[in-house]
């Protein structure tokens, strides 16, 4: 009786926790209410963990406490990373989430096996396959983002067929296990095959596609947790997993739309190969370049300036210099706004976080569609480390690999200035006709240094 009451109290706490989860995400709709969202999530998680620790089924606590302390010891530094490292931190946390879901599934299997129904075997099998492939896939993604592994796509002939056969093999082993649960030796084979597939899934994907891949791995990690909820008959896991899974899914769809590509194209059509033929027929085109002094003069004469940041700004760590530029221009009464493309950077919302970290007010960060309606009335568009998201070939050149991708129409501004290290084509290896336009000035140099130079020139102009 007492045990039953305890169990009911625990379950009731879980219901409160689930409400907290939903509120937490709901309050994230605006930056004003978002801090309550985090608080609601924290309270909900604390309640759920606290209630679980009261579960009468638990017979040992010592090692759980040790594991919790280790978890906190790893989690706190990961929560304090620099904002530029957020994409790889996120990939790593998908890996941890998937790892724990897979571990629990494997533990459940070995506790129950071989007395396991076909149906439960199917649930556990799917859960462990998705968890395992998400784990290795996320580790590879984190490695690419941290630049331990090469960011360019690694491809070979017949890759998709090989990868899909590996996934097929994992599923086939799972089906054999459903029919012959006594063949327990097959279970670890299935896990290893799924782990291998995770590696094969992410290695062919290039850095520019990372926002989609991170979102997709987010979604897989969520769905593996939801499946775990099915395996353990735990509603709170089903809900949390469904929320996380649908969040990752929505983000992947947004990222795909922002690149005008389908899921299958991102996963199986590695960028970087298609256009090697096209770039061979490169004709000599002339570009105009300018110095920091000239750039500063043009900027101070403007009324409206649009800054378009990209991954290059993150690489050069230029966001704080960009803030100084923003301050210098704003002081002169110039209207400065930032045009944010949904796939700029290496994860959804990456640019917003970097610029917010540099203390740029978020009402200055403008989404692509709003920015585009304003660009024709803009005097200067300054592009810092962005390339493909400003490429007008996406609008006009049907042969371009990025044709149809929505872009920021910076070429419609009166003057375009592009800060770029050299004329080398960007990450995806696609030539950008923007650089050869009559109203474009190239500013060659390191983003951080060049922006710093412009700020100094602007300051000098003011005092003298």
């Amino acid at each position: 009786m007492n045990g039953l009451l305890t169990q009911q109290l625990i379950d009731s706490t879980y219901i409160i926790a689930v409400v907290g989860f939903v509120l937490s995400l709901k309050w994230l709709s605006s930056p004003v209410s978002a801090k309550y969202g985090v608080l609601a999530g924290e309270i909900a998680a604390a309640l759920a963990v606290g209630a679980t620790l009261c579960n009468p089924e638990l017979v040992q606590y010592k090692w759980i406490l040790v594991a919790l302390i280790i978890g906190a010891g790893v989690g706190i530094p990961l929560g304090l990373v620099h904002m530029t490292a957020v994409p790889q931190r996120t990939a790593l946390s998908h890996a941890f989430g998937a790892l724990s879901a897979a571990m629990i599934g494997i533990a459940e299997y070995y506790v129950a096996a071989p007395n396991i129904s076909k149906f439960s075997m199917g649930e556990i099998g799917l859960e462990v396959i998705i968890g395992s492939l998400t784990f290795t896939g996320s580790v590879i993604a984190a490695g690419k983002l941290q630049e331990i592994l090469p960011q360019r796509p690694i491809t070979y002939r017949g890759q998709n067929i090989v990868s899909l056969s590996v996934l097929g093999a994992a599923v086939a082993i799972m089906i054999v296990l459903m029919i012959h649960p006594e063949d327990m030796y097959l279970f670890p084979v299935m896990v290893v095959v799924a782990l291998i597939f995770g590696v094969m899934l992410v290695t062919p994907i290039g850095g520019a596609d990372m926002p989609t891949v991170i979102s997709l791995l987010n979604s897989y990690a969520g769905f593996s947790a939801a499946l775990l909820g099915f395996v353990l008959n735990s509603k709170v896991l089903v809900v949390a997993g469904a929320l996380d899974g649908s969040s990752g899914f929505i983000l992947s769809v947004i990222m795909c739309k922002a690149m005008n590509r389908s899921f299958t194209n991102v996963m199986f059509g590695a960028f970087g190969q298609v256009q090697t033929g096209g770039s061979a027929a490169k004709e000599e085109k002339s570009v105009r370049s300018a110095t920091a002094e000239e750039a500063a003069a043009i900027l101070s004469a403007a009324n409206k300036v649009a800054i378009v940041p990209g991954y290059g700004m993150a690489v050069a760590q230029a966001q704080h210099k960009v803030r100084e530029l923003y301050d210098a221009l704003t002081k002169k009464g110039i209207d400065v706004r930032f045009g944010i493309h949904p796939v700029a950077g290496r994860m959804p919302g990456h640019m917003n976080v970097l610029l917010a970290e540099a203390d740029i007010p978020y009402d200055r960060l403008i989404e692509m569609d709003d920015m585009n309606s304003d660009l024709p009335q803009t005097d200067v568009a300054l592009i810092i480390g962005a390339n493909d998201v400003t490429n007008p070939a996406a609008r006009s050149d049907t042969s371009s690999p990025i044709y149809g991708m929505p872009i920021l129409d910076v070429d419609k501004a009166h003057t375009v200035m592009v800060i770029k290290r050299s004329m080398n084509p960007g990450f995806a290896g696609i030539d950008n006709p923007l650089y050869y336009l009559d109203n474009t000035l190239m500013l060659f140099g390191d983003a951080k240094k060049f922006v710093g130079d412009i700020v100094r020139e602007l300051g000098g102009g003011q005092s003298g």
């Binding site: 709901k26 801090k35 990961l78 929560g79 990373v81 904002m83 991170i214 775990l228 509603k235 969040s247």
Partner: protein, 98 residues
């Protein structure tokens, strides 16, 4: 098909819809904190890990359970921490001056 499966499926589908409607409204400005927050919420699998480890059924289940406890709890702690840090950075022009 066990009856638990169907009731879980109900919950899953409804939660999926709720998630879809709620997350659709999250401003693209906050997509990075959204991802780290859902990550922290997803780390609730720690409760399943605690039970697996705490039941002490086999040595293997305890070992795997403890790895899962550490991995998911690190997500929970780290996820909330970084989401909070990120959200504190989002300021308007007015609040910045005050």
């Amino acid at each position: 098909m066990p009856s638990d499966f169907l009731s879980n499926l109900y919950v899953f589908i409804l939660a999926g819809f709720v998630g879809f409607e709620v997350i659709k409204r999250v401003s693209p400005l906050l997509h990075t904190p959204l991802m780290s927050l859902t990550n922290a919420l997803d780390a609730i699998v720690v409760i399943a890990a605690i039970i697996i480890a705490g039941r002490h059924e086999t040595k293997l289940s305890v070992a795997l359970g403890l790895i899962a406890v550490a991995a998911s709890f690190s997500n929970m702690v780290g996820g909330f921490l970084i989401t909070d840090r990120m959200l504190r950075m989002f300021k308007t022009g007015k609040s910045k001056k005050s």
